[in-house]
Symmetry: C2
Subunit: 196 residues, 2 copies
């Protein structure tokens, strides 16, 4: 999540000091904000670092995961373990599930296909569709990576007990809810909507 966050966060006293010049600055809110992005960045780097060893990135890994989750239940009736519909997925479905644009997904699939991890097929029923399938090589890669990936996640969260984990999830979701309400382009100011 390379987003240029400060390596060394300002101390809380600095935020208090800065708030004197900026009445809109809420020191404790800013502190949570900075720590959230800083920690997210660091955790992101740790897992991405692991992917790099296998020639992947977070984005490429995400695509393979979605495909693996989808195709694991192929032929079986339900998708209990994957919570995803079975069968190959289209670039549009992958983009929506991953939260990136379709143009971005095209690029990801391009390189994944070039490296032999996935394969584009054609849908006879609708020739606009280009369903994507995992190749055996891609399946092997994801299965090789996953155990280590899970161990890393477990290690990173290892200092939190179950109660703390529940608390984290609850508070993160509160923030996510608030942020999601502000995502649609210009809901910037608190409460005022001046669209023409």
């Amino acid at each position: 999540m390379p987003f240029l966050m400060l390596k060394d966060l300002p101390r809380y006293e600095c935020l208090l000091e800065a708030a004197k010049k900026f009445p809109d600055l809420d020191p404790s809110a800013a502190e949570v904000f900075l720590n959230l992005l800083r920690t997210g960045d660091e955790v992101f780097r740790v897992v991405e670092n692991n992917f790099t060893k296998h020639g992947l990135s977070q984005g490429r890994f995400g695509v393979l995961m979605l495909l693996a989750r989808s195709s694991r239940t192929e032929g079986e009736g339900k998708s209990e373990a994957t919570c995803l519909p079975p069968g190959p997925l289209t670039p549009a479905e992958l983009a929506d599930a991953a939260g990136v644009t379709r143009a971005t997904m095209t690029g990801l699939i391009d390189t994944l296909e070039r490296d032999g991890f996935v394969k584009r097929e054609s849908d006879p029923a609708d020739r606009r569709m280009m369903p994507v399938k995992l190749t055996p090589k891609g399946r092997k890669l994801i299965e090789d990576i996953l155990p280590g990936h899970f161990r890393i996640i477990s290690a990173v969260m290892g200092s939190l007990n179950e109660t703390e984990r529940k608390t984290m999830v609850r508070l993160l979701n509160k923030i996510l809810q608030q942020a999601s309400g502000l995502t649609p382009s210009e809901a910037a100011h608190s409460g005022h909507d001046h669209r023409n």
Copy 2:
């Protein structure tokens, strides 16, 4: 923090189910992990969205902030409100403070200078140095953006009370500590950094 995280996180039951196939998967750890990255991503998008309206990005904003914090105290003795040494900063100092490589910083300064927000100067004492200074235009931009930026942060964190904010910061720091120990540069013994 565009890192391709799942738009809809797997439900906890799905993680439990998946753990049957992967003994290394710790469901509650994975849940915190997914929520952390998802929330970080969303918050990142909200603030970045605001920057975009002013023709900035998170990275460009970060550089301007560092320069503003540094130059605000120029001439005065201390840097209480900024916690940064006064005067212009070199690309290397900016890169270290921002947590990006020097090559990345060169690119950021390139576009910021092209747009007239900063200016490269030359250091007569050491001609390798190219200290960067904020232009009046750059200073005006950052001062125009900051109030809205602070209001957005305040709004995003608005649903957390002071106790919850303290808890978040404490738990995030626990995670950050663990994660920092797993980054390769410091993870190896002796903490020496061979980058560059």
